[in-house]
């Protein structure tokens, strides 16, 4: 249902929020020895999410879209590995975080625009 209204943006918004959590985890663990920085491969995760949604729609079942994105969490390759085994590079994490926040805002405004369109059509003004 939500898939047909919001198209790609519903899944994208959820993934963006998940990626925000992963990046925040990296920032939180910037000083933890042995911690490996992680990130979500957004394009691949979104692709598989959409394919899964189509499959579910074909079976006319309620789409339960959980843990599919787990497969797309990857470890980040560090520019320069540090001695304590920690691969968090704060500059990269911060840029990724702000880029992700911006993309979240953009996706959110697409969703809001869709909702506004529907509301206007329903009201018939």
């Amino acid at each position: 249902m939500s898939e047909s209204i919001f198209g790609i943006h519903g899944a994208a918004l959820e993934l963006r929020s998940q990626r925000m959590g992963v990046l925040a985890s990296n920032i939180a663990n910037a000083a933890t020895p042995g911690y490996k920085a992680r990130d979500i491969d957004f394009a691949a995760a979104l692709q598989s999410r959409l394919e899964q949604g189509q499959l579910e729609q074909g079976r006319s079942g309620n789409p339960i879209m959980a843990s599919a994105q787990d497969a797309h969490i990857l470890y980040r390759a560090p520019t320069m590995p540090s001695l304590d085994g920690n691969t968090v590079e704060l500059n990269r994490e911060q840029i990724a975080f702000s880029e992700n926040a911006l993309a979240y805002s953009a996706t959110l405004s697409f969703v809001q625009g869709k909702v506004n369109t529907l509301t206007r059509a329903l009201k018939g003004e």
């Binding site: 959590g21 925040a24 663990n29 933890t32 805002s105």
Partner: protein
């Protein structure tokens, strides 16, 4: 908090607590810099916070918590000062092996990471509010 799912808020809270422990440890070290003892065992040894990552499988978030404090194994500085009231029988005193500049850097780094967490939470919270308020 194993019974409740981890959110961005609890993640930030734990990260900030960990940084606070780290900063308190560094401040204690600074406060004890130059403290003197009459025995080698009695001299102050600098303490350090040990961080470990804590992964919440349900949400995929991993927070940080400080597992405890460890004492550094550096030997105290032995100095000959027979006039000192705490000097031992041979006239030696033992000074705490605290590196003031290292501790200052530790405090600065800890403060930076604390700031990073606050900034990340602010951005995330603002986005959540925007999503919540959309009609």
């Amino acid at each position: 908090m194993p019974d409740r799912p981890m959110t961005l808020f609890s993640l930030t809270e734990q990260a900030m607590s960990a940084q606070m422990v780290r900063m308190n440890a560094a401040t204690s070290n600074l406060a004890n810099a130059g403290s003197v003892s009459s025995t080698e065992e009695g001299a102050y040894r600098p303490i350090r916070a040990v961080f470990t990552a804590e992964l919440d499988r349900a949400s995929g978030l991993s927070s940080v918590h400080s597992e405890g404090l460890v004492r550094a194994e550096t030997a105290p500085t032995k100095r000959y000062d027979p006039g000192h009231p705490l000097a031992d029988g041979d006239g030696f005193i033992f000074e705490a092996p605290v590196d003031e500049s290292a501790e200052m850097v530790e405090i600065m780094e800890s403060a930076r990471q604390y700031q990073n967490m606050v900034q990340a939470l602010q951005t995330a919270k603002q986005l959540m509010l925007e999503t919540l308020r959309s009609k």
